[in-house]
């Protein structure tokens, strides 16, 4: 999951940002959002388990 988040975030960063510094910042921010969303949704689904 971490690898997926890292690669997808890097792709988004290269497409949406111009400078390397902005790309790195965006990649880090995007990875964090990916992980938080994935873990959060996982716990949310846990609430609805049988």
């Amino acid at each position: 999951m971490l690898l997926f988040a890292l690669v997808v975030s890097a792709a988004f960063a290269f497409l949406s940002r111009r400078t390397m510094h902005d790309r790195l910042r965006y990649t880090m921010w995007s990875v964090i959002v990916f992980l938080v969303a994935a873990i959060g949704l996982g716990w949310l689904m846990y609430l609805f388990q049988k």
């Binding site: 690898l3 997926f4 690669v7 997808v8 890097a10 792709a11 960063a13 290269f14 497409l15 111009r18 390397m20 790309r23």
Partner: protein
């Protein structure tokens, strides 16, 4: 920066198609080296990981709607779709989680490559520059005023400290709004200093 010649719709379409066929090539043709290499490396990395963990590659020979969606996503990889078909690693490993991840990596690589191809097309058409211009105007509406507000209006106008009574100071040909307000405030200050000296 794309030149004016690249705003030809047909050339932009060709750049988009080439960008889909070979990931990153559209941006490289537009001389955006960072984006082109970044797109190529990320799409290649995802396709390589998917091939290494034996993900499933969807083919056109299917009647299932979701398999067709998977085929459409995998096709987005361009030349990596062909390479993955020829890659023999024991077939797809759908019995394990790694193989399932590989299937998702294939689809994500395809979708990202299509996104990059569309981005290359938009850059070639000049649409990205227009969007960035609109974002700059929305984010910093006073960006033009900061050039004038940072400078001291009085020093910009080079007014003499005492001035000549009854004679308005000569203004330069182009005066911004901020400078004109400062000029208007000058005469009352000189009258007040006169009254204070007289009293």
């Amino acid at each position: 920066m794309p030149s004016q010649e690249n705003r030809n719709p047909l050339a932009a379409l060709l750049i988009g198609i080439l960008g889909w066929l070979v990931p990153g090539s559209g941006h490289l043709l537009l001389r955006q080296w960072g984006r082109g290499l970044g797109v190529f490396c990320t799409v290649a990395a995802m396709a390589g990981i998917a091939m290494a963990v034996r993900g499933r590659l969807f083919l056109l020979a299917t009647n299932d709607f979701f398999d067709l969606l998977g085929f459409a996503a995998d096709c987005g990889m361009g030349i990596f779709f062909y390479i993955a078909q020829k890659w023999s690693n024991g077939g797809p490993d759908v019995a394990h989680a790694a193989g399932d991840y590989g299937t998702r990596f294939f689809a994500a690589a395809g979708v990202l490559n299509v996104l990059a191809a569309v981005d290359a097309y938009r850059i070639a058409r000049g649409q990205e520059e227009e969007d960035e211009g609109k974002e700059d105007d929305a984010d910093t509406p006073s960006s033009h005023r900061t050039e004038h507000s940072d400078a001291d209006p009085a020093s910009e106008l080079q007014l003499s400290p005492a001035g000549v009574p009854g004679v308005p100071p000569e203004l330069p040909a182009e005066v911004s709004r901020g400078e004109s307000i400062a000029v208007k405030q000058e005469p009352p200050a000189s009258d007040e200093t006169k009254r204070s000296t007289e009293s």
